[in-house]
Amino acid sequence: MTGSQSTRRSADKIDPEQLTIVPLRHPWRWVAVALVLVSVAGMIRSAISNPEFQWPIVAQYLFNPLILDGLWQTVLITAVVMALATLGGTIAALMMLSPSKLLSVPAAAFVWFFRGTPALVQLIIWYNLSIVVKDITLWLPGVGTVYSVSTNDIMTPLVSAIVALSLHEAGYMAEIVRSGLKSVNKGQYEASACLGMNPSLALRRIVLPQAMRIIIPPTGNETINLLKTTSLVSIIAVGDLLYSAQSIYARTFETIPLLLVVSFWYLAVVSIMSVGQFYLEKHFSRDEHRINPGITRAILGNLAKIGRKEALA
């Protein structure tokens, strides 16, 4: 045993100044790196050399007005749906945490239903709402019909898409916000109450800002997920990014290059969102010195480091 040998040497005879510490070597890591590099190189080579990818056509359609229109629709739907879902989800979360069953039970039922059915199914149901409900009418007792409109006039594909996805997404956001609110220590509520703050002020100023730290990372995840889920709306003929590409390759049969264009734009938007998330997280953890690096943070942090090194060189 090397351990017993080294202890058998008298400790007095070892000069601590002369000792060097040898870190544990990881030779297999280098083998793995080599394997990865070879496979990546192979994939890149095949992507470039395979004529079916038709890179020149990808470049040609990248800034096609129809594609950019679709991209705008996709971003618009994502933004509107996320805003509505965050609002609806927060209300549902507050209702679920209420001691009153009158509030918590309907909210829980809402989450159960809209989180439990597929987005695609909800989308098609809302799109076909006019089959079940012919007219949407506001009727007040004593006043009579105040306002009435044909369902088909209101439920355009875009509106159905926004309604369906907002409700679906609100179900998820409700759970995210609820977990955030529950993560805040009970003592924070008590401290605010003892300073004379009413419950809504305490929620706005003390509880929500602390809950945001828990809420933001999964919300970023949800937003990215939603951006991609919006591609489902192409089913009900909303002119989103995927629908635009489909309408082009239906004519030209350049399927793969156009899907590559679509993927490029989805990736581009997700990357921009990740930067936004990075700064949002930073804003809500001002008081922390060290924050657990998420994937986004790690990438951006490293990029910043590399940038700095290059600036020095």
């Binding site: 300073l195 004379g196 703050m197 008081d287």
Partner: protein
């Protein structure tokens, strides 16, 4: 709401009484934790409550500012109810907004400090004066700086709570409570979560407040502090006040065997 103080005569209690508790009862389900607690704290005096854990002393303190609802008894702070409105022979529970107005007059310091971690020290102090009392920013800032000087933490105004030691955090928490100019300050075991060497700095601040004549109700394990500062000492056990009186006399010569036993263990 009635002007503060007008109820003193109404209830036949001295107008110098800040906290008047009579027969306070409190249960959690079938477990009765307070079985009729009486306490009178005159204005400008310090009352220290001691007792073994589970004796109900913290629960009683939390009943004073209505963090806990009471199931029976009469609890008046500065001659008025905190969470109720009296009409005839019935106490009607007030809506949260009205309770908040009353609570703003009762400061509380917690065992776990409960500073707002997302705000700097001075923001912690200014939050309630600005948003509850709607004080002008300049006035709230000046008062916050003065209070931080008073607890010896003027240089920490822009630090975040987690950058402070436990003792410093508790001193900030005391300053935060004082920023609302409370009529009475409640302390719930303010030094129990602190490292032993940090207890002194917090007790020093509390002693200085006592000297300035701030009415305080302190639940504590610091018998030395109670002996030095308190005007009355209350020993609670099993949801009842077992013994109360002058702290020096009570500590030197406890009347009840239970008090004697408890003091023998903690001294």
């Amino acid at each position: 709401m009635t002007a503060p103080g007008t109820h003193h005569e109404h209830f036949g209690i001295a107008s110098t009484t800040m906290v008047h508790a009579k027969g306070i009862r409190k249960s959690y389900g079938h477990l009765e934790v307070l079985k009729g607690v009486d306490l009178t704290v005159p204005s400008g005096s310090v009352a220290c409550i001691i007792g073994p854990s589970g004796s109900g002393k913290s629960t009683f303190l939390r009943c004073i500012n209505h963090l806990e609802e009471i199931n029976g008894g009469l609890m008046l702070v500065d001659g008025d109810f905190v969470g109720y409105r009296l009409e005839g022979n019935k106490l009607y529970e007030l809506p949260p907004s009205a309770i908040c107005q009353r609570r703003a007059e009762i400061g509380m310091v917690f065992q776990q400090f409960n500073l707002f971690p997302h705000m700097t020290v001075i923001e912690n102090l200014m939050e309630a004066p600005l948003r509850v009392k709607r004080e002008p920013v300049a006035q709230a800032t000046a008062k916050a700086i003065e209070l931080l000087k008073r607890v010896g933490l003027a240089e920490k105004r822009d630090a975040y709570p987690r950058q402070l030691s436990g003792g410093q955090q508790q001193r900030v928490a005391i300053a935060r409570a004082l920023a609302m100019n409370p009529k009475v300050l409640l302390f719930d075991e303010p030094t129990s979560a602190l490292d032993p060497e940090l207890v002194g700095e917090v007790l020093e601040v509390m002693k200085s407040l006592a000297r300035e004549g701030i009415t305080m109700v302190v639940v504590t394990h610091e018998i030395g502090f109670a002996r030095e500062v308190a005007d009355q000492l209350i020993f609670m056990d099993g949801g009842l006040v077992v013994e109360s009186g002058n702290p020096r006399e009570m500590i030197a010569n406890p009347q009840s065997p239970r008090t004697r036993e408890f003091l023998a263990r903690v001294l």
